[in-house]
């Protein structure tokens, strides 16, 4: 897998997310371009590369929000684990797959954020983290609606990333040891 291409994708998607988010909100909801990028990586990349790629995407997003550090990294990492496990059962070229996987990932992400807010509130008495569930659900739907276009476009340029299908072989976290 070409890590430089993945890094450029992460940079561009995060920059678009940061720049455009405030201008395309609808009832406070906005699409999560980083989540869409993470879904693209998770449905295509080998296991370890997908986990690391999604985790880094989340960690980068964490640097540009007021949310507690690590929340997005944990969320996208966890989503990558689930998506990668089902990689062989999904038809990664189909727009419906892109829509559904992004929608489910968005809903799971919303559930994690709500659960985190609840637990964080219990642990930190002065905290007022209480994201609106409706907005998070709209976020997920908004992202899912855009996903077929963005992931579809990225799928056409899949060879730029040189993803290796099947069992992981291109990158191994334990390989260096």
């Amino acid at each position: 897998m070409r890590w430089l291409t993945l890094f450029i994708l992460a940079y561009v998607m995060l920059a678009i997310h940061l720049g455009i988010r405030a201008f395309i909100t609808w009832h406070e909801a906005a699409p999560n371009f980083v989540l869409i990028a993470a879904v693209f990586v998770a449905i295509n990349a080998p296991r370890n590369a997908a986990l690391l790629g999604c985790f880094v995407l989340g960690a980068m997003q964490d640097l540009f929000t007021q949310q507690p550090l690590g929340l997005q990294a944990f969320t996208l990492g966890l989503l990558a684990i689930v998506i990668v496990r089902n990689q062989t059962t999904i038809y990664r070229e189909h727009p419906v797959t892109h829509f559904l996987v992004t929608l489910l990932a968005g809903l799971a992400s919303a559930a994690i954020i709500l659960l985190h807010a609840w637990v964080y509130g219990k642990l930190h008495a002065d905290s007022h983290l209480s994201p609106a569930a409706g907005v998070l659900l709209l976020d997920a739907l908004y992202s899912a609606l855009l996903a077929p276009f963005i992931i579809g476009l990225l799928q056409r340029r899949r060879r730029w990333f040189a993803f290796k299908s099947g069992r992981p072989s291109g990158f191994n976290l334990r390989g260096a040891a």
Binding site: Y11, V12, L14, A15, I16, H17, L18, G19, I20, R21, A22, F23, I24, T25, H27, E28, V34, F55, G58, A59, M60, Q61, L63, F64, T65, Q66, Q67, P68, L69, G70, L71, Q72, A73, F74, G77, L78, I113, H116, V119, Y120, L123, H124, S127, H128, L129, S130, P131, A132, V135, L136, D139
Partner: protein
């Protein structure tokens, strides 16, 4: 992953903010054009929420005297429409002059991005080298917009007044009078209890600690101004506006308490620039 989870749950906000502001400027080559194009597209499609944003001033130095004369004639024709605008601007000028001291130590910085998550914050193209420090107030000529929460070598992050974690003591007031009566003056509206504002997202904040009787006795109405009245903030900013009341109602869970929702005049996440008050530190 485990480390991320521990950090997300246990790390206090001060430590959480430590690594922030380091990579902000690295994204500027893309985020700034994207923001500019988005703002332009929003203006073109008529979906801009900043109805009161001042129009850009054109500076055409190469016009001939004939063209300028035509332009003056056109402007005279629309004088009646402008008169109401002038009255509005007089009110604005008076208010800015009243709070002008706050603007003396300010420096303007470009906004790089808005929050990447579900919170209300913006990133500025500012660093410690510019004299920006955590805790400094951030404002525009229209309103106080927030406070610096993280500064690094690549940028500074601002928690907006509309963020859920942002609260401050405030008070109310309204402008009374007319040009015929000698101008407008700001009249404070007193309440029994000190109002406390808290951000609720969606470019709004609420005041939920006043009982309904108190609000009715004070004769608060929609459109009244919410201004800062918090000793924890710099003296120059006391009385600086935060926004205007959008709605007043009963709280669902506590019907004896009032639910006051207010909003800044501008969409704070879409600002192209913001001013940091360099001498202030909360």
């Amino acid at each position: 992953m485990g480390l991320a989870l521990v950090s997300a749950l246990l790390l206090p906000p001060d430590l959480s903010n430590a690594p922030r502001g380091t990579l902000d400027a690295a994204f500027a080559p893309l985020t700034i054009p994207v923001r500019q194009v988005s703002a332009w597209a929003q203006k073109k499609t008529g979906t801009s929420t900043d109805k009161d944003a001042p129009a850009a001033v054109r500076q055409d130095h190469d016009k001939t005297p004939e063209q300028l004369r035509d332009e003056v004639e056109a402007l005279r024709a629309s004088l009646s429409e402008i008169t109401s605008e002038v009255n509005h601007l007089r009110e604005e000028n008076r208010r800015i002059a009243q709070m002008g001291q706050a603007g003396r130590d300010c420096r303007s910085f470009q906004v790089l991005f808005s929050d990447a998550g579900q919170r209300q914050s913006i990133g500025l193209r500012a660093s410690k080298a510019d004299g920006v420090l955590v805790g400094q107030a951030v404002l525009t000529p229209d309103c106080l917009i927030g406070q610096i929460t993280a500064v690094g070598v690549g940028g500074a992050q601002v928690r907006l007044t509309t963020d859920r974690e942002c609260s401050m003591r405030v008070s109310f007031g309204r402008f009374e009078g007319s040009p015929e009566e000698g101008g407008y003056r700001f009249v404070p509206v007193r309440t029994e209890r000190q109002p406390i504002s808290r951000g609720i997202g969606n470019n709004e904040f609420e005041i939920a600690n006043l009982d309904l009787r108190d609000v009715q006795a004070a004769k608060l109405v929609e459109g009244d101004w919410v201004v800062l009245s918090d000793d924890d903030w710099p003296r120059q900013l006391q009385g600086y506006p935060l926004g205007r009341i959008k709605s007043i109602g009963r709280q669902r869970k506590a019907p004896l308490f009032a639910q006051i929702t207010a909003a800044p005049r501008l969409n704070l996440s879409q600002l192209p620039n913001a001013m940091v008050m360099l001498s202030s530190k909360k």
